[in-house]
Every structure is written in structure tokens, then in C-alpha cells.
């Protein structure tokens, strides 16, 4: 016991043990990485073997993963995809605005505004309750069938209207969550300065509310990108419809993979852009103050 104490007291020994301890920890870390890598590769190997040796594999490979199918259908699908992009870019703008109006209507206080609040509630309930594909079919085929003068018959137009109406219901609720998450003391401070309710909303509450709900807003935007494919049910050729055309011509599904790749390709950069925006904005996320 006394001897150990002496050893520890020796500065040279102490230095060497610190070094050793450092190395030991590093060794543990390196070993952990190696194990993880190896086990992942082994797992990957098992999956590959299991899949490619299964009875149905050749058929599945021929129908789903034929590179010839994928590459030959890609140009047409990419061209058709331009329509999807146009639709969601235009619709998203309208959705962000309409949803904000609905959310604000819903937040108006007092008995005098009850009809507007009720309207907003009914709207969000209906918009979220009805299947999107139904609304698009009803509007896309139904509205022009009325044959009223001045009513556009363009199916892309009506599909866009349908998407805007439906998604505004979802996004309004996202805004509402954001608005309600801003501490009431912020509104109290703004109103105390003499700002009207609308001014307080515009300058103080909404800027904070919207920053807080950027991830769910992005979620709905990504959902919208996928739902642009529904315009195909009206016969318009967009990416998914085009991939169905190719698929039906060859009885294979490579075209679907090509379309899927395009949809994923726009989702990923968008998600990273949003992460970057949120990180950049993080400094202002917390309200400055004791109890906010």
C-alpha cells in the first residue's frame, strides 16, 4: 500500500500513467468503430445474400431493378417532372398565405369574432378530413362540367386549387401551433406599448411563431411535392403518370424507381436547406427575459 502511494507520487510515473490512460481510451474508441463497421458490413452481407439467393429474386430484379428500364424511361419522366415542380412551387406560395389567414382568423378573440373563428374551424376540419384525391377529382372533372362561363376548364388549374384548399387546412394548424407556442407575455408586452392586436400579431407574434414551426411547415411542403402526382388522375401527364405509362408498356417497374429518384432528389436538398436556416436562426429562438 505504502509502496503504491510512493509510485503514484513519482511525477515521472504519474506522467506515464496519464499517457497510458489516454491511449487506453483511444484504443477503446478505435475498437468500437471497428466493431460497428464490421457488424454493419456483416449485416449488409447477410441481407445481400438472403435477397439474391431467394426464389423470387431473378423475377424481382428483372421487374424492379433493370438498369435499362430505369435509364430509358428517365428522360421522359424528368421532362414530365417539370410539371410537378411548377405545380408545387406555385401552390406552396398560395398555401402559405391562405393558411396564415385561416390561422389568424382562428385566433381572433371575443364573442364578436365567433363566426370567423367557427368558419376557420370548419374549414380546417373539412380540408383535413376529405381525401385529397377526391377533392381533385371533384374539382378537376366537376367544375368544368358545370359549363359556367368564365370557369377555367384546365385540369392543372383545378388540381392546383384542390391542393391549395386541402393543404391550407393542414398548414393553418401548423401556424396555429406556432402562434400558441409564443408566450403570452410577448403579446402583453406588445399590447402594453399601444400596438393593436393586428400589429402585435404582425411584428411580434408571427415572426416568432413561424420560426418555431419551420420543420413541420417543411414536412407539409414535402407532402405537397408528392401529392402533385394526383393531377395524373385527371389524365395530365406528370412524373408519376409518365412512369405508369412506361411501366404499362413494358410490364416492369424500373420507371417507378426513376420517378422515385427524382422526388427524393428534390427533397434532400430542401431538407438540408431548412436545417441550415434553422441553425442560422437559432440565436433568436429563445425569448429574452426571465420567465418567457
Amino acid at each position: 500500500m505504502a509502496r503504491e502511494g510512493d509510485r503514484r507520487a513519482d511525477p515521472e510515473v504519474a506522467r506515464r500513467s496519464r499517457l497510458l490512460e489516454g491511449l487506453r481510451l483511444e484504443g477503446e474508441g478505435a475498437r468500437g468503430v471497428a466493431i460497428a463497421l464490421l457488424s454493419s458490413l456483416v449485416l449488409a452481407g447477410i441481407i445481400v445474400v438472403a435477397v439474391t439467393q431467394s426464389a423470387g429474386w431473378p423475377e424481382v430484379r428483372r421487374t424492379f431493378f433493370d438498369w435499362g428500364d430505369i435509364s430509358s424511361s428517365f428522360p421522359d419522366i424528368a421532362r414530365a417532372f417539370v410539371l410537378n415542380v411548377k405545380i408545387f412551387l406555385v401552390c406552396e406560395v398560395f398555401i402559405l398565405v391562405l393558411a396564415l389567414v385561416i390561422a389568424v382568423l382562428r385566433s381572433l378573440p371575443g364573442p364578436v369574432f365567433f363566426p370567423l373563428r367557427a368558419l376557420a374551424v370548419i374549414y380546417t376540419d373539412l380540408a383535413r378530413g376529405v381525401p385529397t384525391i377526391l377533392v381533385i377529382a371533384l374539382l378537376g372533372f366537376g367544375a368544368p362540367a358545370l359549363q359556367l362561363t368564365g370557369v377555367p376548364s384546365s385540369r392543372v388549374f383545378w388540381a392546383g386549387v384542390g391542393l391549395i384548399l386541402i393543404y391550407s387546412g393542414y398548414v393553418a394548424e401548423v401556424y396555429r401551433a406556432g402562434i400558441e407556442s409564443v408566450h403570452p407575455s410577448q403579446e402583453a408586452a406588445a399590447r402594453s406599448l399601444g400596438l393593436s392586436r393586428l400589429q402585435a400579431l404582425r411584428h411580434v407574434i408571427l415572426p416568432q411563431a413561424i420560426r418555431r414551426v419551420i420543420p413541420p411547415l417543411l414536412n407539409d411542403f414535402i407532402g405537397l411535392q408528392k401529392d402533385t402526382a394526383l393531377v395524373g388522375t385527371l389524365g395530365v401527364i406528370e412524373a408519376f403518370n409518365q412512369s405508369q405509362i412506361d411501366s404499362n408498356a413494358t410490364f416492369t417497374y424500373g420507371a417507378y424507381l426513376a420517378a422515385a429518384a427524382l422526388f427524393v432528389a428534390i427533397t434532400i436538398p430542401l431538407a438540408r436547406l431548412t436545417d441550415w436556416l434553422i441553425a442560422r436562426d437559432r440565436r433568436r429562438h429563445q425569448a429574452g427575459g426571465g420567465f418567457a
Binding site: 449488409a44 452481407g45 423470387g56 430484379r61 421487374t63 424492379f64 389524365g235 404499362n248 410490364f251
Partner: protein, 297 residues
């Protein structure tokens, strides 16, 4: 070394897995189902069937005239394949009879068009649904010999500008449409080459509604279906014309799982029906009207 790092490494391995799967596919030579094509006997008891003693035939729902007829009963709509009326229903029962099945031993099952060529075991012995023979398709499923040659045709609203067109070329400036999964769309793209992007509808109902709404100017369908469209579905429409058959013409056939030996026996039955004039008689009975439209060159 944290659990998080392990997880992210495992996730990083996923694309590796996927790539390996695609790459490893090359060179795989094992055949799929083991149905041999060398079986010689087409006796009823020896047939390769889903369930013994029963012939399961697939087609899509709704079942449209003139391919199917009769009053529909649940779950079938518009027409009933079980009626024996309509060209494809009649042909199916005629083939079944040749194979030794009574009417009661034939069951019909709903097979949406897309499901007929989906990979994996089929839910039918054969599928009859105006499926055109195409070499690319023949790599995935097996076709019987053809039981009909069809022409494409175009349906338009009476009194519209397109209704005065007299040639294929005159159709170019218009918005045309076809149903998804039909060779009609390919026909539009390859033979008409319109300047406006055509429309492709997942359902017949959608295509018909778009024509009614004048959201498309003309609907390209096979001639027999065109008669149904103009007589029942779209009032005030007419068949502008039919397009002459390409050399050999567009042929429709039944769909089998690849390697299904039943196909040989069905082909034998079809050969018999052709030989003894039954097929022609059925065509006269159900598709006679479908020859009377002007030819558009």
C-alpha cells in the same frame, strides 16, 4: 464511442447494401417458377391450375361492352363476365369448354390491369383484358396466341373543330387522350405525333369525363370500345374514324404467368376454335358493329 456513432455507421451501410443488391443481380441465373413447358397432356386432370377442377379467369372491373355483356351483379359493374355475353367472356367460356370445364367450373376474379403483370404468384390461371402483345411485355409474362386483331379509333364530340378532320395529320394540333395501360397512348405518340402533350387517364371513367368536359378534343381507344363510348357513355359523340391496322395489326391475347404450362393447352384450344370457325362466329356476334367506321389515313 457513442451509440449514436454506431447507428450512423449502420445507416451509412444501407446504401452499400442497396448497391450490392443491384450489382449482385447480374449473373443470377436461377429460373423462377418451375412450371415446365414440356408437359404433353392437356387432359383436364393434368392441367396446371390454381385450384384443382376449377378454371380461374381474371379481368378488370368495370367490365365494359362489347368485351363483356349481361346485367352486372355484385361485385362486377357495367357488365358481368359470368354472363357469357360479350366477346371476351364468350371466348373464355369457349376455351374453357375445350379444356373440359363446364360453365359452373369457371370462376372470374377481379384483376386490375396493373396487377396482371405484377411480379410474384398470379391470382388467376389466365387473364383476359384486351391486353396487346408487345415484345417487351412478353419478357415478363407469357401471352397466349392472339384471339383478336384490333384497330385503334378516335372518338370526338360532334360539332367541334376536330370533328371535321379527315386524316391522321389533321389531328396533330389537338389535345388527345387515351387510357393508361392501353396501346392507344403509344399509338398517339408514335403514329399521330400531336403538337400538344396528350393526356393519359388511369380510368376509363376519367377519360370519358374529360371528353365530355371538352378538356380533351379526341379520345383514342380500340374500335370495339369506341362503340361503347359513343353509344352509351358520351352523348353527342361520334367515332371520327378508325386507323388502318399496321402490318400484322395489333393483337390481343391472354396473359399467363411465365412458364405456366396451361398456356400450351389454351393455345391448342384457341387453334381448335379458330379452325372450326367458332372464333369468327363469336366476332360476328359481338364485334360486328365494330367494323363500320371510316378509315383515317
Amino acid at each position: 464511442m457513442s451509440g449514436q456513432t454506431r447507428i450512423s455507421l449502420a445507416v451509412a451501410a444501407l446504401p452499400v447494401v442497396l448497391l450490392a443488391v443491384v450489382a449482385a443481380g447480374c449473373g443470377s441465373t436461377k429460373p423462377s417458377s418451375s412450371g415446365s413447358t414440356t408437359s404433353a397432356s392437356c387432359a383436364k386432370a393434368d392441367l396446371n391450375l390454381l385450384s384443382a377442377e376449377k378454371l380461374t379467369v381474371g379481368t378488370d372491373n368495370p367490365a365494359y361492352p362489347p368485351w363483356f355483356g349481361g346485367t352486372p351483379h355484385k361485385p362486377w359493374q357495367v357488365s358481368d363476365p359470368r354472363s357469357g355475353q360479350g366477346y371476351e367472356s364468350a371466348v373464355a367460356y369457349a376455351v374453357a369448354k375445350q379444356l373440359g370445364f363446364s360453365k359452373g367450373e369457371v370462376t372470374w376474379t377481379h384483376v386490375p390491369f396493373n396487377n396482371s403483370f405484377a411480379p410474384g404468384p398470379k391470382s388467376f390461371d389466365f387473364d383476359i383484358n384486351q391486353v396487346s402483345i408487345a415484345p417487351a411485355r412478353a419478357k415478363i409474362i407469357a401471352f397466349s396466341d392472339p384471339y383478336y386483331t384490333i384497330n385503334q379509333s378516335i372518338v370526338v364530340n360532334k360539332g367541334t373543330p376536330i370533328a371535321s378532320a379527315t386524316s391522321k395529320a389533321a389531328l396533330k394540333p389537338y389535345e388527345l387522350g387515351a387510357q393508361l395501360g392501353t396501346t392507344s397512348y403509344q399509338f398517339i405518340k408514335d403514329k399521330i405525333e400531336p403538337s400538344k402533350t396528350p393526356s393519359v387517364f388511369p380510368t376509363n371513367a376519367g377519360a370519358v369525363q374529360a371528353l365530355k368536359n371538352k378538356q380533351i378534343d379526341g379520345l383514342v381507344v380500340d374500335l370495339p370500345t369506341a362503340f361503347y363510348v359513343t353509344s352509351v357513355q358520351v352523348p353527342n359523340s361520334k367515332i371520327l374514324g378508325q386507323f388502318p391496322a399496321e402490318p400484322g395489326g395489333e393483337k390481343v391475347a391472354m396473359v399467363f404467368a411465365k412458364g405456366n404450362s396451361l398456356r400450351t393447352c389454351v393455345n391448342k384450344a384457341l387453334a381448335t376454335l379458330k379452325g372450326n370457325g367458332t372464333l369468327k362466329q363469336l366476332q360476328q356476334q359481338w364485334l360486328a358493329k365494330a367494323t363500320g367506321a371510316p378509315i383515317l389515313k
